[in-house]
Subunit: 337 residues, 2 copies
């Protein structure tokens, strides 16, 4: 098995840079349009700051990750293209790799655990990927597909491969270009590619921009690792699939330690409230991860007062059943919009 | 009172043209990004055609109309700018004018009937417009504000002003540029600016593209007028605000008669089903008008078989309460996505 990214040991010089993000742009914009950064007066009033939302939920697979997938697949060698891509995912990463592989005519095999969300499996298959069910959980699916990739000479793509980070950084560059006066950017953290890319881009252009990560208190492994400076694993019970990581990744931890100003935890209940607030004020459907930045902004309200704040709506892949349950629970307490 | 558009009698030569739409582009793109045109495998399977959605719900005010507002306001004279804009609206048109007026530093006064949707009123005020409640219904609010505009020497902006149509046409041009092989475009019809602009652009570039309008069977005045060739008024009981017109407009009728291949009616119940299907397959929130094109495609399934079909999702401003009611009614019958 070959790793798509050649660098397994990241020294400081090898960290992804703004230059890598700029180089990713042609690969990304060959297939995608820049996403909007919209101001929302209702959210601004709620937070007591000037609030913009970066709409990565508007991407073709409903999440920011597709930028990374497109950058990675565009740079494969002929041999790598021929061998095909292998990855494991139960969510947006798998859809992103499937989308990018199809766009470039490359075969993608995605391992998912038995019992994976049928909607997401259907979406990956709809994009032409081969989906293989294996094992009871994500880790066993991942180990199995890494073995298959090794046996076939194919590329296994992990969720924090550097070329994914380079591609993802294009959304951060759009933020800084569209709103040079941004004071703070709040980014949901799963494996960390989004927040790392945002830190690299924002801090290189203007070290005064605060970059703040957010994870669910019901899945705090990455935050605890960042805060303690050492790899910590933790329980993972969050409803937000995009924030559900049990163990940290070495490369994204190093980047986060260098670039993040803060990293907060929010309760799942606050994330669910934020999904409803975003529906009301923006008429956009956010998945849990996509609403976490608003939950964090509400928590950090005093500190953000009067500032220009960008919330990254990282994805919108909430199921109709999840939405129905949330709305039924909120009953008549939510206001009409 | 001066009309913003000088032409009240439209002869054929005076009809808006592709050239007008191209001229509108710099005014529109100074403030907005092109919206995405995404393919959706799930919808394609449902219709038995290749289905794309044009995401005008991604616009800053959640609807296509903002393109027209920006084009109109950009071309006001100094005198017109100083006198300010006056319009009547209970929905997206008002938000569009408010947005465009603010972007250009012009004052906007928007008349709404007493009892207007508080969420939409708040949105207009959040955009800096002065909102005046007047009278029991839309027509009395409109008559009142036309009087105010006349007294103040300000510009009254009707919903089918030509410069609005020119600006709106930029989305149709994006469709034809992004998907030159499009066979049919289905467009929801309120006053008709969207479908007229689409007809002008699509037919001028490729007369083979079918342009199909759709209105609710619970508010069929525009469709009946088109079909009969004379102005017909009709009952208006639709749940879809964006489709709710009681009487036709002379200028858009003339354009529709020239450019539309077909104009279908769909039941409100089919529109509500389409809102849920769009949530499931696209994770986007559509308002009733924004879902009408999908309802029409389902109705026209046999005719569209195998074709490249674009559904215009004209707007996404559904309230949380409307959504909650729809989801509660659909109960457990809808599948998870």
């Amino acid at each position: 098995m070959r790793k798509v990214s050649g660098k397994s040991e990241l020294d400081d010089a090898a960290m992804p840079s703004l230059r890598d993000v700029i180089a990713a742009r042609p690969h990304v914009y060959r297939h995608l349009k820049p996403t909007p950064l919209h101001p929302y007066p209702g959210l601004s009033e709620l937070i007591g700051a000037k609030v913009w939302v970066k709409h990565e939920n508007h991407q073709p697979v409903g999440a920011f990750k597709v930028r990374g997938g497109l950058n990675l697949v565009a740079q494969l060698s002929e041999k790598e293209r021929a061998a095909g891509l292998y990855t494991a995912s139960t969510g947006n990463h798998g859809q992103s790799i499937a989308y990018a592989a199809r766009a470039h005519g490359v075969r993608a095999t995605i391992a998912v655990p038995e019992g994976a969300n049928p909607g997401k499996v259907a979406a990956m298959r709809g994009l032409g990927a081969e989906v293989a069910f294996h094992g009871p959980d994500f880790d066993s699916a991942r180990e199995w597909v890494m073995g298959v990739a090794a046996a076939q000479g194919g590329c296994f793509v992990g969720p924090t491969e550097e070329r994914l980070i380079h591609g993802v950084g294009t959304y951060a560059l759009e933020i800084v270009e569209d709103l040079p006066e941004v004071d703070a950017i709040i980014v949901p953290v799963g494996a960390g590619s989004g927040v790392c890319a945002t830190g690299i881009v924002a801090k290189t252009i203007n070290p005064g921009i605060e970059v703040i990560g957010v994870q669910s208190a019901q899945a705090p492994a990455i935050q605890m690792s960042w805060a303690s400076g050492k790899a910590v694993s933790a329980d993972m019970n969050t409803v937000a699939e995009g924030l559900a990581t049990r163990v940290p990744f070495e490369n994204t931890q190093r980047i986060m330690r260098k670039y993040l100003d803060d990293f907060v935890l929010v309760e799942d209940a606050a994330i669910e409230d934020a999904i409803l607030l975003l529906l009301e004020h923006t008429h956009n459907l956010a998945e849990g991860a996509g609403a976490a930045a608003l939950a964090a902004a509400i928590k950090l309200k005093r500190r953000l007062a009067g500032k220009n704040v960008v919330l990254v709506m990282s994805g919108g892949n909430l199921s109709v059943d999840q939405l129905r349950r949330l709305l039924a629970r909120s009953g008549t307490s939510a206001r009409a919009s």
